[in-house]
Amino acid sequence: MSTPLLLAVLLLLTAAAFEFGRRRALHLAGPEFRTLHSLPRYYGSFTALWCALPALVLLGTWLAFEDEIITSLVVADLPATYQSLSEPELNLIINDLRNQLSGNVVSQELSPDMQAAAEHYGSLRATSKAAMAVIFLSVAMLGMGLAWRKIAPNFWARNRVEAIIKVLLIICSTLAIFTTIGIVLSVLFESIRFFQAVPVFDFLFGLEWSPQTAIREDQVGSSGAFGAVPLFAGTLLISFIAMLVAAPIGLTSAIYLSEYSHPRFRATAKPLLEILAGIPTVVYGFFAALTVAPLLRNVGTYFGLDVSSESALAAGLVMGIMIIPFVSSISDDVINAVPQSLRDGSLALGSTQSEMIRKVVLPAALPGIVGGLLLAISRAIGETMIVVMAAGLAAKLTVNPLEAVTTVTVQIVTLLVGDQEFDSPKTLAAFALGLMLFLVTLALNVIALYVVRKYREQYE
């Protein structure tokens, strides 16, 4: 039986198990059904869970190891000449066997030895499949039977079911955590390889970034300079400009929306503002590159300023517009969360609306607002598309917003789209940059969460 079919059968079995469990509980209790410890459906769920879970675990394990075990069995049975082959060659042969079995093209005509091996392989597979189906269904039935036997009027089915569900929830949430840890570790290991080629100190404090390395030994090329300072400076400059735009506009619009505007206006304006967050960043990118940047250059020429056609200012301005909704939406929520009783208290003392906002609402909401701003900053730091299109690729160490700069994320992109070997320092540098970026945004997020939580504690 194929796996989907097995699953379908299991589903039916589980449904049946639920019904059996429920019936049995009711039957055992008889007319005294109120004396059951738990509701009948908990007995049903208990039986169903015992039917499904062990079988599923078995299926997962089986599928995970089946291939490896069969292959090793086949290899063990190959004639001695093959045994001495190297790993890649052996893999090739196994591949041929598989292709032969599924009727695909094979790389060479198969010898009789190989034919036999292929048949052996096929029969092992068939056996495994049949065995799996049998064991799988037996486990399901066995689980159901065991659970069924446990059912008694004073059996605490509810508590058992709740406990199982809790374990399932824990597994799911740890899955997310482990994925994150996995990603971080892989980035970390690649970074360590990079730091074997380039000293950490040079990377962190080097003032020059030009990641061109020679591809071939005989090439005259620079050996590459991997100082990340210009990149982080560029990132900070652009994020700073973005926050200069987003913080005041976002905050004032949040104050207006939550404190002054008519509810009907708020109901339309807030979603509109949030649409800004839904625009793809590429669109912002070409808006920055094709509209804002030329505009800035024209204005600059008018005033006799030399604005390069790709500038930190253009990218920062547009990025600022992009993150306005983050700031305004979070601030708006935080401001709204300030209890009405505080506003009433202030107004009842004869404060004006703006005094109330300045002296009571904003101070009470400040930690939350700061948390929102920090989240917006980490968003700005991680942003790539706008910067690629509008700020350029030149890793220049400058604080002049009218010049082209580049950021960490942009460099990661350009490092990886090149045709370098995957383990050259140039490519590995991307991982080191990614790690740094991750650490920075992580720190920002941790601070933001901490601040927000602190704010929550203030009431109640």
């Binding site: 505080l342 009433d344 202030s346 107004l347 003392l349 004869g350 009431y459």
Partner: protein, 292 residues
Amino acid sequence: MLNQKHAVLLESPAKTNDVPPPSPVQIQEPDTKTVGRVTVDKPIMTTRNVDVYYGDKQAIIDVSIDVAYNEVLSMIGPSGCGKSTFLRCLNRMNDTIESARVTGKIELEGHDIYDKKTDVVTLRARVGMVFQKPNPFPKSVYENVAYGPRIHGLARNQSELDEIVQTSLRRAGLWDEVKDRLGQPGTGLSGGQQQRLCIARCIAVNPDVILMDEPCSALDPIATARIEELIDELRQNYSIVIVTHSMQQAARVSQRTAYFHLGDLIEVGETATIFTNPQDKLTEDYLTGRFG
């Protein structure tokens, strides 16, 4: 200083809490269905034929009643009868509710508080309010009390402000408990202390009238007794309108009592009379526990 400001903004005569103005030559009893005498000889606030609507729903129906100088007026009645609504009319806190609409005439020392020329900010400085749930600002004890004097510019310098803060806390009977922790957050006090802090905060702006909406409902009997004492002391300087669900409390602290029922003001009278000898059937039913 405060009085000058009031005089300018409200165009009212100087504050005369201690020496009530001569009573009007003749008091006209308003045309109402309320049992008992709704007027007083020397009113600080008068309300005439007040209706309040929330959207289409009428919450207060044709209520007329006076508030005298240096008296505690208690308002009782079953839940939802409109006591809070009426109380909030007296300092226009209903303005903050979008759907609320108030008609009729409400005067503070002869000035229509719903008049276009009335500055609601000054009105609220003169008619303060203490809420059901203590709502200290998330600031220090000191800043809580200094808040009102600051926004109204009542102190010229720090020492005057210190003075105001101390006097207000003393009057609210809280000074001894908090004098060593003025810098700590007001939200960290106990419930009863918080409520007294809110009262201190209210009297720090030196209002004429203090409105209290069930100020003790979140407090234990001892804290309640403390606040009741306080209300009695405050009567020397202020007029107080208090909403309460406790008839014992109304009997203990107030001189006059008003009974509300489904938006109507049913009966008004001396507290002692109302409790011993109610005139209206509805009042009697409520007081004897046959209703509510």
